[in-house]
C-alpha cells in the first residue's frame, strides 16, 4: 500500500491573487484517512493559511462539501484510498462564488432555504396542556427520507440548471419543503406552494437527476421535485377549473 498521496488543493486569496491557483502537497494516506484528514494534515503541519469549512467529520453537519476530482463530495466521507495513486484535486463547490480557498459563499442558498419555510407551520398552536402532536410510524415514513437532508449543498453544485440560472430555487430547498409538506403535523403547504410554483421554483427543474446522484444522504431531491410537480400541476388545474372552490 502507498503511504502517501498527492493533494492538489485550490487556493484563492483575494488580497493577493485574482484567479484560483493550486498548491500541491504530499500527505499520508492510511486506509482510514478521508480527504478531510488530508486537508487537516496540510493545515496542521504544512500550511496553516489554508481555509476550508468542516465540523463534525461524520457526515452530519454538511459543512465539508467540496469538489473532489471534479465531483461534489463530502470530504469527510470520501476516502483517499478510493483515488489509488492520486493525485486528488480538491476545489471549492461549483456554482457558488468563492470567498477564499475552499470556502464558498452560501448566502444565496440560505436565503432560498428560508423562503420555503422549512419548519412546521401551524395555523393555531394547541396549548401545551393538550400534549404533543402524535404521529404514526406510517406518517413518519411519508417524509423521513427528505428529513435526512443535511443542507450540504452538493446538489446545488451538481445541478446544471442552478449553474445556468442562479434564480432556480434548487434541489435541497424543494426537498426540504416536501419534508414539511408531507409531515402530518404541518399546515404550511399552501404558503410553500406560492414559492415553489413560481417559474424559478419547481418548474425550473428539467429532471437531469444529478442532485440525487451526488446526495450523500440518499434524499433523492429529484424525486421530491417530480412528486411536487404533480401536486402543483393538479392544484393548478383545480384552481383553473374551479376558480372559487379550490
Amino acid at each position: 500500500m502507498r503511504d502517501s498521496i498527492t493533494l492538489q488543493v485550490a487556493r484563492y486569496r483575494p488580497e493577493q491573487e485574482s484567479e484560483a491557483t493550486f498548491d500541491e502537497h504530499e500527505v499520508p494516506c492510511p486506509k482510514e484517512w478521508v480527504v478531510l484528514d488530508g486537508l487537516n494534515h496540510i493545515k496542521d503541519r504544512i500550511d496553516g493559511t489554508l481555509s476550508y469549512r468542516w465540523s463534525c467529520r461524520m457526515g452530519i453537519c454538511g459543512s465539508c462539501g467540496m469538489t473532489v476530482n471534479g465531483e461534489p463530495k463530502l470530504t469527510c466521507a470520501t476516502f483517499l484510498s478510493e483515488y489509488g495513486r492520486g493525485p486528488v484535486r480538491v476545489e471549492p463547490l461549483r456554482n457558488f462564488p468563492v470567498i477564499r480557498d475552499l470556502i464558498v459563499d452560501m448566502g444565496d442558498f440560505m436565503r432560498k432555504l428560508v423562503r420555503v419555510k422549512p419548519w412546521i407551520v401551524r395555523q393555531a398552536e394547541k396549548p401545551l396542556s393538550e400534549g404533543e402532536y402524535r404521529q404514526t410510524p406510517e406518517e413518519l415514513d411519508d417524509y423521513k427520507q427528505f428529513s435526512m437532508c443535511i443542507t450540504c449543498m452538493l446538489c446545488y453544485a451538481a445541478c446544471p440548471i442552478y449553474g445556468l440560472d442562479p434564480k432556480f430555487i434548487g434541489p435541497a430547498a424543494i426537498a426540504l419543503a416536501q419534508r414539511y409538506n408531507l409531515d402530518s403535523r404541518d399546515e404550511g403547504a399552501s404558503e410553500r406552494m406560492e414559492v415553489l410554483s413560481e417559474h424559478e421554483g419547481i418548474w425550473g427543474c428539467t429532471f437531469v437527476g444529478e442532485c440525487t446522484k451526488v446526495c450523500p444522504k440518499h434524499v433523492d431531491p429529484a424525486g421530491a421535485i417530480q412528486r411536487y410537480k404533480l401536486t402543483a400541476a393538479v392544484e393548478s388545474m383545480k384552481s383553473f377549473f374551479m376558480p372559487r372552490g379550490a
Partner: protein, 117 residues
C-alpha cells in the same frame, strides 16, 4: 393562490406524452417498422387494418398517442435549446416554434384520423 402560468399544463402534457410514447411507441414501431416488413409476423391485411382504424375508439387512442407525444417533444426540445444552446433570450421564439409545431402536428394528426376513408 398559485400564480397563473402555462407551465403546469405544459408539464402535464409533457408528462403524459412521456408515458404514452414510452409505453405504446416501441410496440407500434417494432410491429410496423420491423416485424411486419421483415416478415417476422404475418401482417394484417389492408382491409383489416382499415376496419380497425375506422373504429372511433382506435382513432381516439391514436390521437391520444400523437398529441401528448408531440407536446412531450416540444417541451423537451424547448428546454434543450434553452439550456443546451444557452439561448434563453430567444424564449418567446423558441416557445412559439416548439409548441406551435406540436399544435400544428396535433391538428394534422386529428385531420388525418378524422378523414380515414
Amino acid at each position: 393562490m398559485i400564480k397563473r402560468h402555462p407551465e403546469p399544463l405544459l408539464w402535464m402534457l409533457f408528462s403524459a406524452g412521456g408515458v404514452v410514447s414510452a409505453l405504446l411507441m416501441p410496440i407500434l414501431l417494432v410491429l410496423f417498422g420491423l416485424a411486419f416488413p421483415l416478415g417476422w409476423l404475418q401482417p394484417p391485411s389492408y382491409e383489416h387494418l382499415l376496419a380497425v382504424l375506422r373504429n372511433p375508439l382506435t382513432r381516439l387512442v391514436l390521437f391520444g398517442l400523437c398529441m401528448p407525444s408531440l407536446f412531450h417533444w416540444a417541451h423537451r426540445f424547448r428546454h434543450t435549446l434553452y439550456d443546451g444552446l444557452q439561448i434563453k433570450h430567444l424564449n418567446e421564439v423558441i416557445a412559439v416554434i416548439c409548441y406551435g409545431g406540436a399544435i400544428v402536428g396535433s391538428a394534422a394528426a386529428a385531420y388525418l384520423l378524422w378523414h380515414v376513408p
